[in-house]
Symmetry: C2
């Protein structure tokens, strides 16, 4: 059973290895009768088709697309937004009989040679919310692996499927400004704040391109407002709650809180609920992404077509017919009950 290779089968049937290979890969290159004889013999010998690694080596195709997430892989699954992206990508991957390789991005061994991004046998890569400065991106570029990012990069030859972050956030900012808000706290994802101790950051410390741009958009739309940036940790429900708790319990409460992701905003919602604060009346709360739970919670947020984003990335990576390399997706401000007029001072 072990050690059965193409050669073994070839010898057993009495043909050349090439022919056995063709029996699997190019059925029209040999007679039907011979092909069947080969496949039968293979079955008998317990040969289960050409070895994946060898095939990948020789043909230069791995049959897999890598997926890069920031931070912990396990974290990615806690955000329905990320999961939606994955679902869209998986749809296209499935269509092209390609597997998805989820790679851990543990920053510890990025410098050394033994990290997943180096090791991975992939034909292309989808980059989801990874800062443009991350070393893994250099490694990919170095390996010559085509990649599509969910952030617009600076390089004109970079591929991406993104939204106009600034404009999207500006829409939300205008909405808040119109409601009279001039004191806003923005909840962001930030690794340094991990461990349950919320911190206030300057714009430069944010780290993620998309977050920076969204903050820019808010500022642009509400130039007179005071914007404070707060992080309760990684992008997660609990971080949103922790961050919001810190803000709500401080002396200096804002009139509105904006979560740069819905999961964070929903965490903040929980913090408000515990304190008996009604969103939209006592304090305005808004999110970003428009995940399914946002609708149920009545959360004002910015909708982005996440699943379609995943599909588009997949198509750019896998479909040779698709030539468009940079795609801007539409966004839409969804106003729900969680936002209301700022209380008169």
């Amino acid at each position: 059973m072990a050690g059965v290779t193409l050669k073994t089968v070839a010898k057993a049937v009495g043909v050349s290895p090439s022919t056995v290979s063709n029996a699997y890969n190019k059925p029209d290159q040999l007679s039907v009768a011979l092909r069947e004889r080969i496949l039968d013999t293979a079955r008998e010998l317990g040969y289960s088709g050409p070895d994946a690694s060898a095939r990948a080596l020789r043909s230069g195709k791995a049959g897999a697309v890598g997926v890069l997430f920031t931070d912990k892989l396990a974290y990615a699954f806690s955000d329905p937004y990320a999961v939606g992206f994955l679902a869209g990508l998986a749809e296209v991957a499935e269509e092209f009989s390609t597997s998805l390789l989820l790679m851990p991005l543990s920053s510890t061994d990025i410098a050394g040679g033994s990290n997943a991004v180096q090791q991975a046998a992939i034909d292309a890569a989808a980059i989801f919310c990874v800062p443009g400065t991350h070393p893994a991106l250099d490694i990919l570029a170095n390996r010559g692996i085509p990649a599509v990012s969910t952030d617009r990069g600076d390089h004109p030859d970079l591929s991406w499927v993104a939204i106009d972050e600034v404009e999207a956030a500006a829409q939300l900012g205008e909405h808040l400004a119109r409601l009279g808000h001039r004191d806003v706290v923005v909840l962001v994802d930030n690794a340094e704040a991990a461990g349950g101790n919320p911190v206030e950051l300057s714009v430069d410390e944010v780290g993620y391109t998309d977050c920076e741009l969204r903050i820019q958009g808010l500022q642009k739309a509400m130039p007179d407002a005071r914007l404070r940036i707060v992080s309760g940790g990684h992008n997660a429900f609990s971080s949103g709650r922790t961050g919001a708790e810190w803000v709500l319990d401080s002396q200096d409460r804002p009139t509105a809180i904006v979560g740069l992701s819905d999961v964070q905003a929903l965490g903040a919602l929980e913090a408000m609920r515990v304190r008996g604060l009604v969103p939209g009346r006592d304090l305005t709360l808004a999110g970003f992404d428009d995940i399914p739970a946002a609708e149920a919670a009545g959360l004002t947020t910015v909708h982005q077509p996440i699943r379609e984003k995943g599909r588009a990335v997949g198509r750019i990576l896998l479909d040779p017919a698709v030539t468009e390399r940079q795609l801007l997706m539409p966004t839409e401000l969804i106003v729900r009950a969680s936002s209301g007029p700022a209380p008169k001072a």
Copy 2:
């Protein structure tokens, strides 16, 4: 940049290919000075480390674990239960610097040689809710790839991390029986019912082992009850709704509906809501899995430690120190507002 291999670097430095290989993989096999010289030269030449496929071929290690889901990969992401499993698995994979390979299981080309299960370069596989009869499992066995399933199989040497499906369902059945229910519809995942046309099935037609066992458990706990099995399609919110609609609009309404997954039960909840039916009062509704949304919806369900299940599978696959090959996880009946006494006839 292209075509730079170990050999190129070796020639440039003036050493043998083996030494360059060692510079990457066995740093203690050569002097520090030489190693640095090699790595520097590699950087200069634009060599980005040993090729993944070649390494995999020669060393026999792919650095990836395959994940098999039933049905469409994209579907898997729509169930928080599946996502939770994935998150647990990812946690452990991350720990071992191993990637996760999500493989599409399109049943069409399983017979032919060109499917993902054949192609995939993986060291091991996690099998999530795949019927024991699925051809992909044979392929894996044939390839000699160790696998851990989330269903208890018949073979004593098969690895699994599972729950006692019969017992778990029996707990729920007892609860329903105690409430006086004797007419129950069970909503199941079934591909044949796809397309929005709900069907009633016999036990033999269900297909999924876990579903069959759960039905057995219900029957065992409520021997006098009439159990009807209905499917609205794949395991998803919409199928649960469709199936429930069909049941609710029929002449022959049951007093209780059990979704064999929470997403289906929540879909049924939606169907009830639209019809003005209050769960727990007009009709009892119960689910299975206890996903986060179940709590918010007040759904009676059977809790299973899904994330821990994922972790356990990961450890069996990756941690050589773990010798336990079969693990039974605990379950717990969670009674919430959606279940109540059956109306007196």
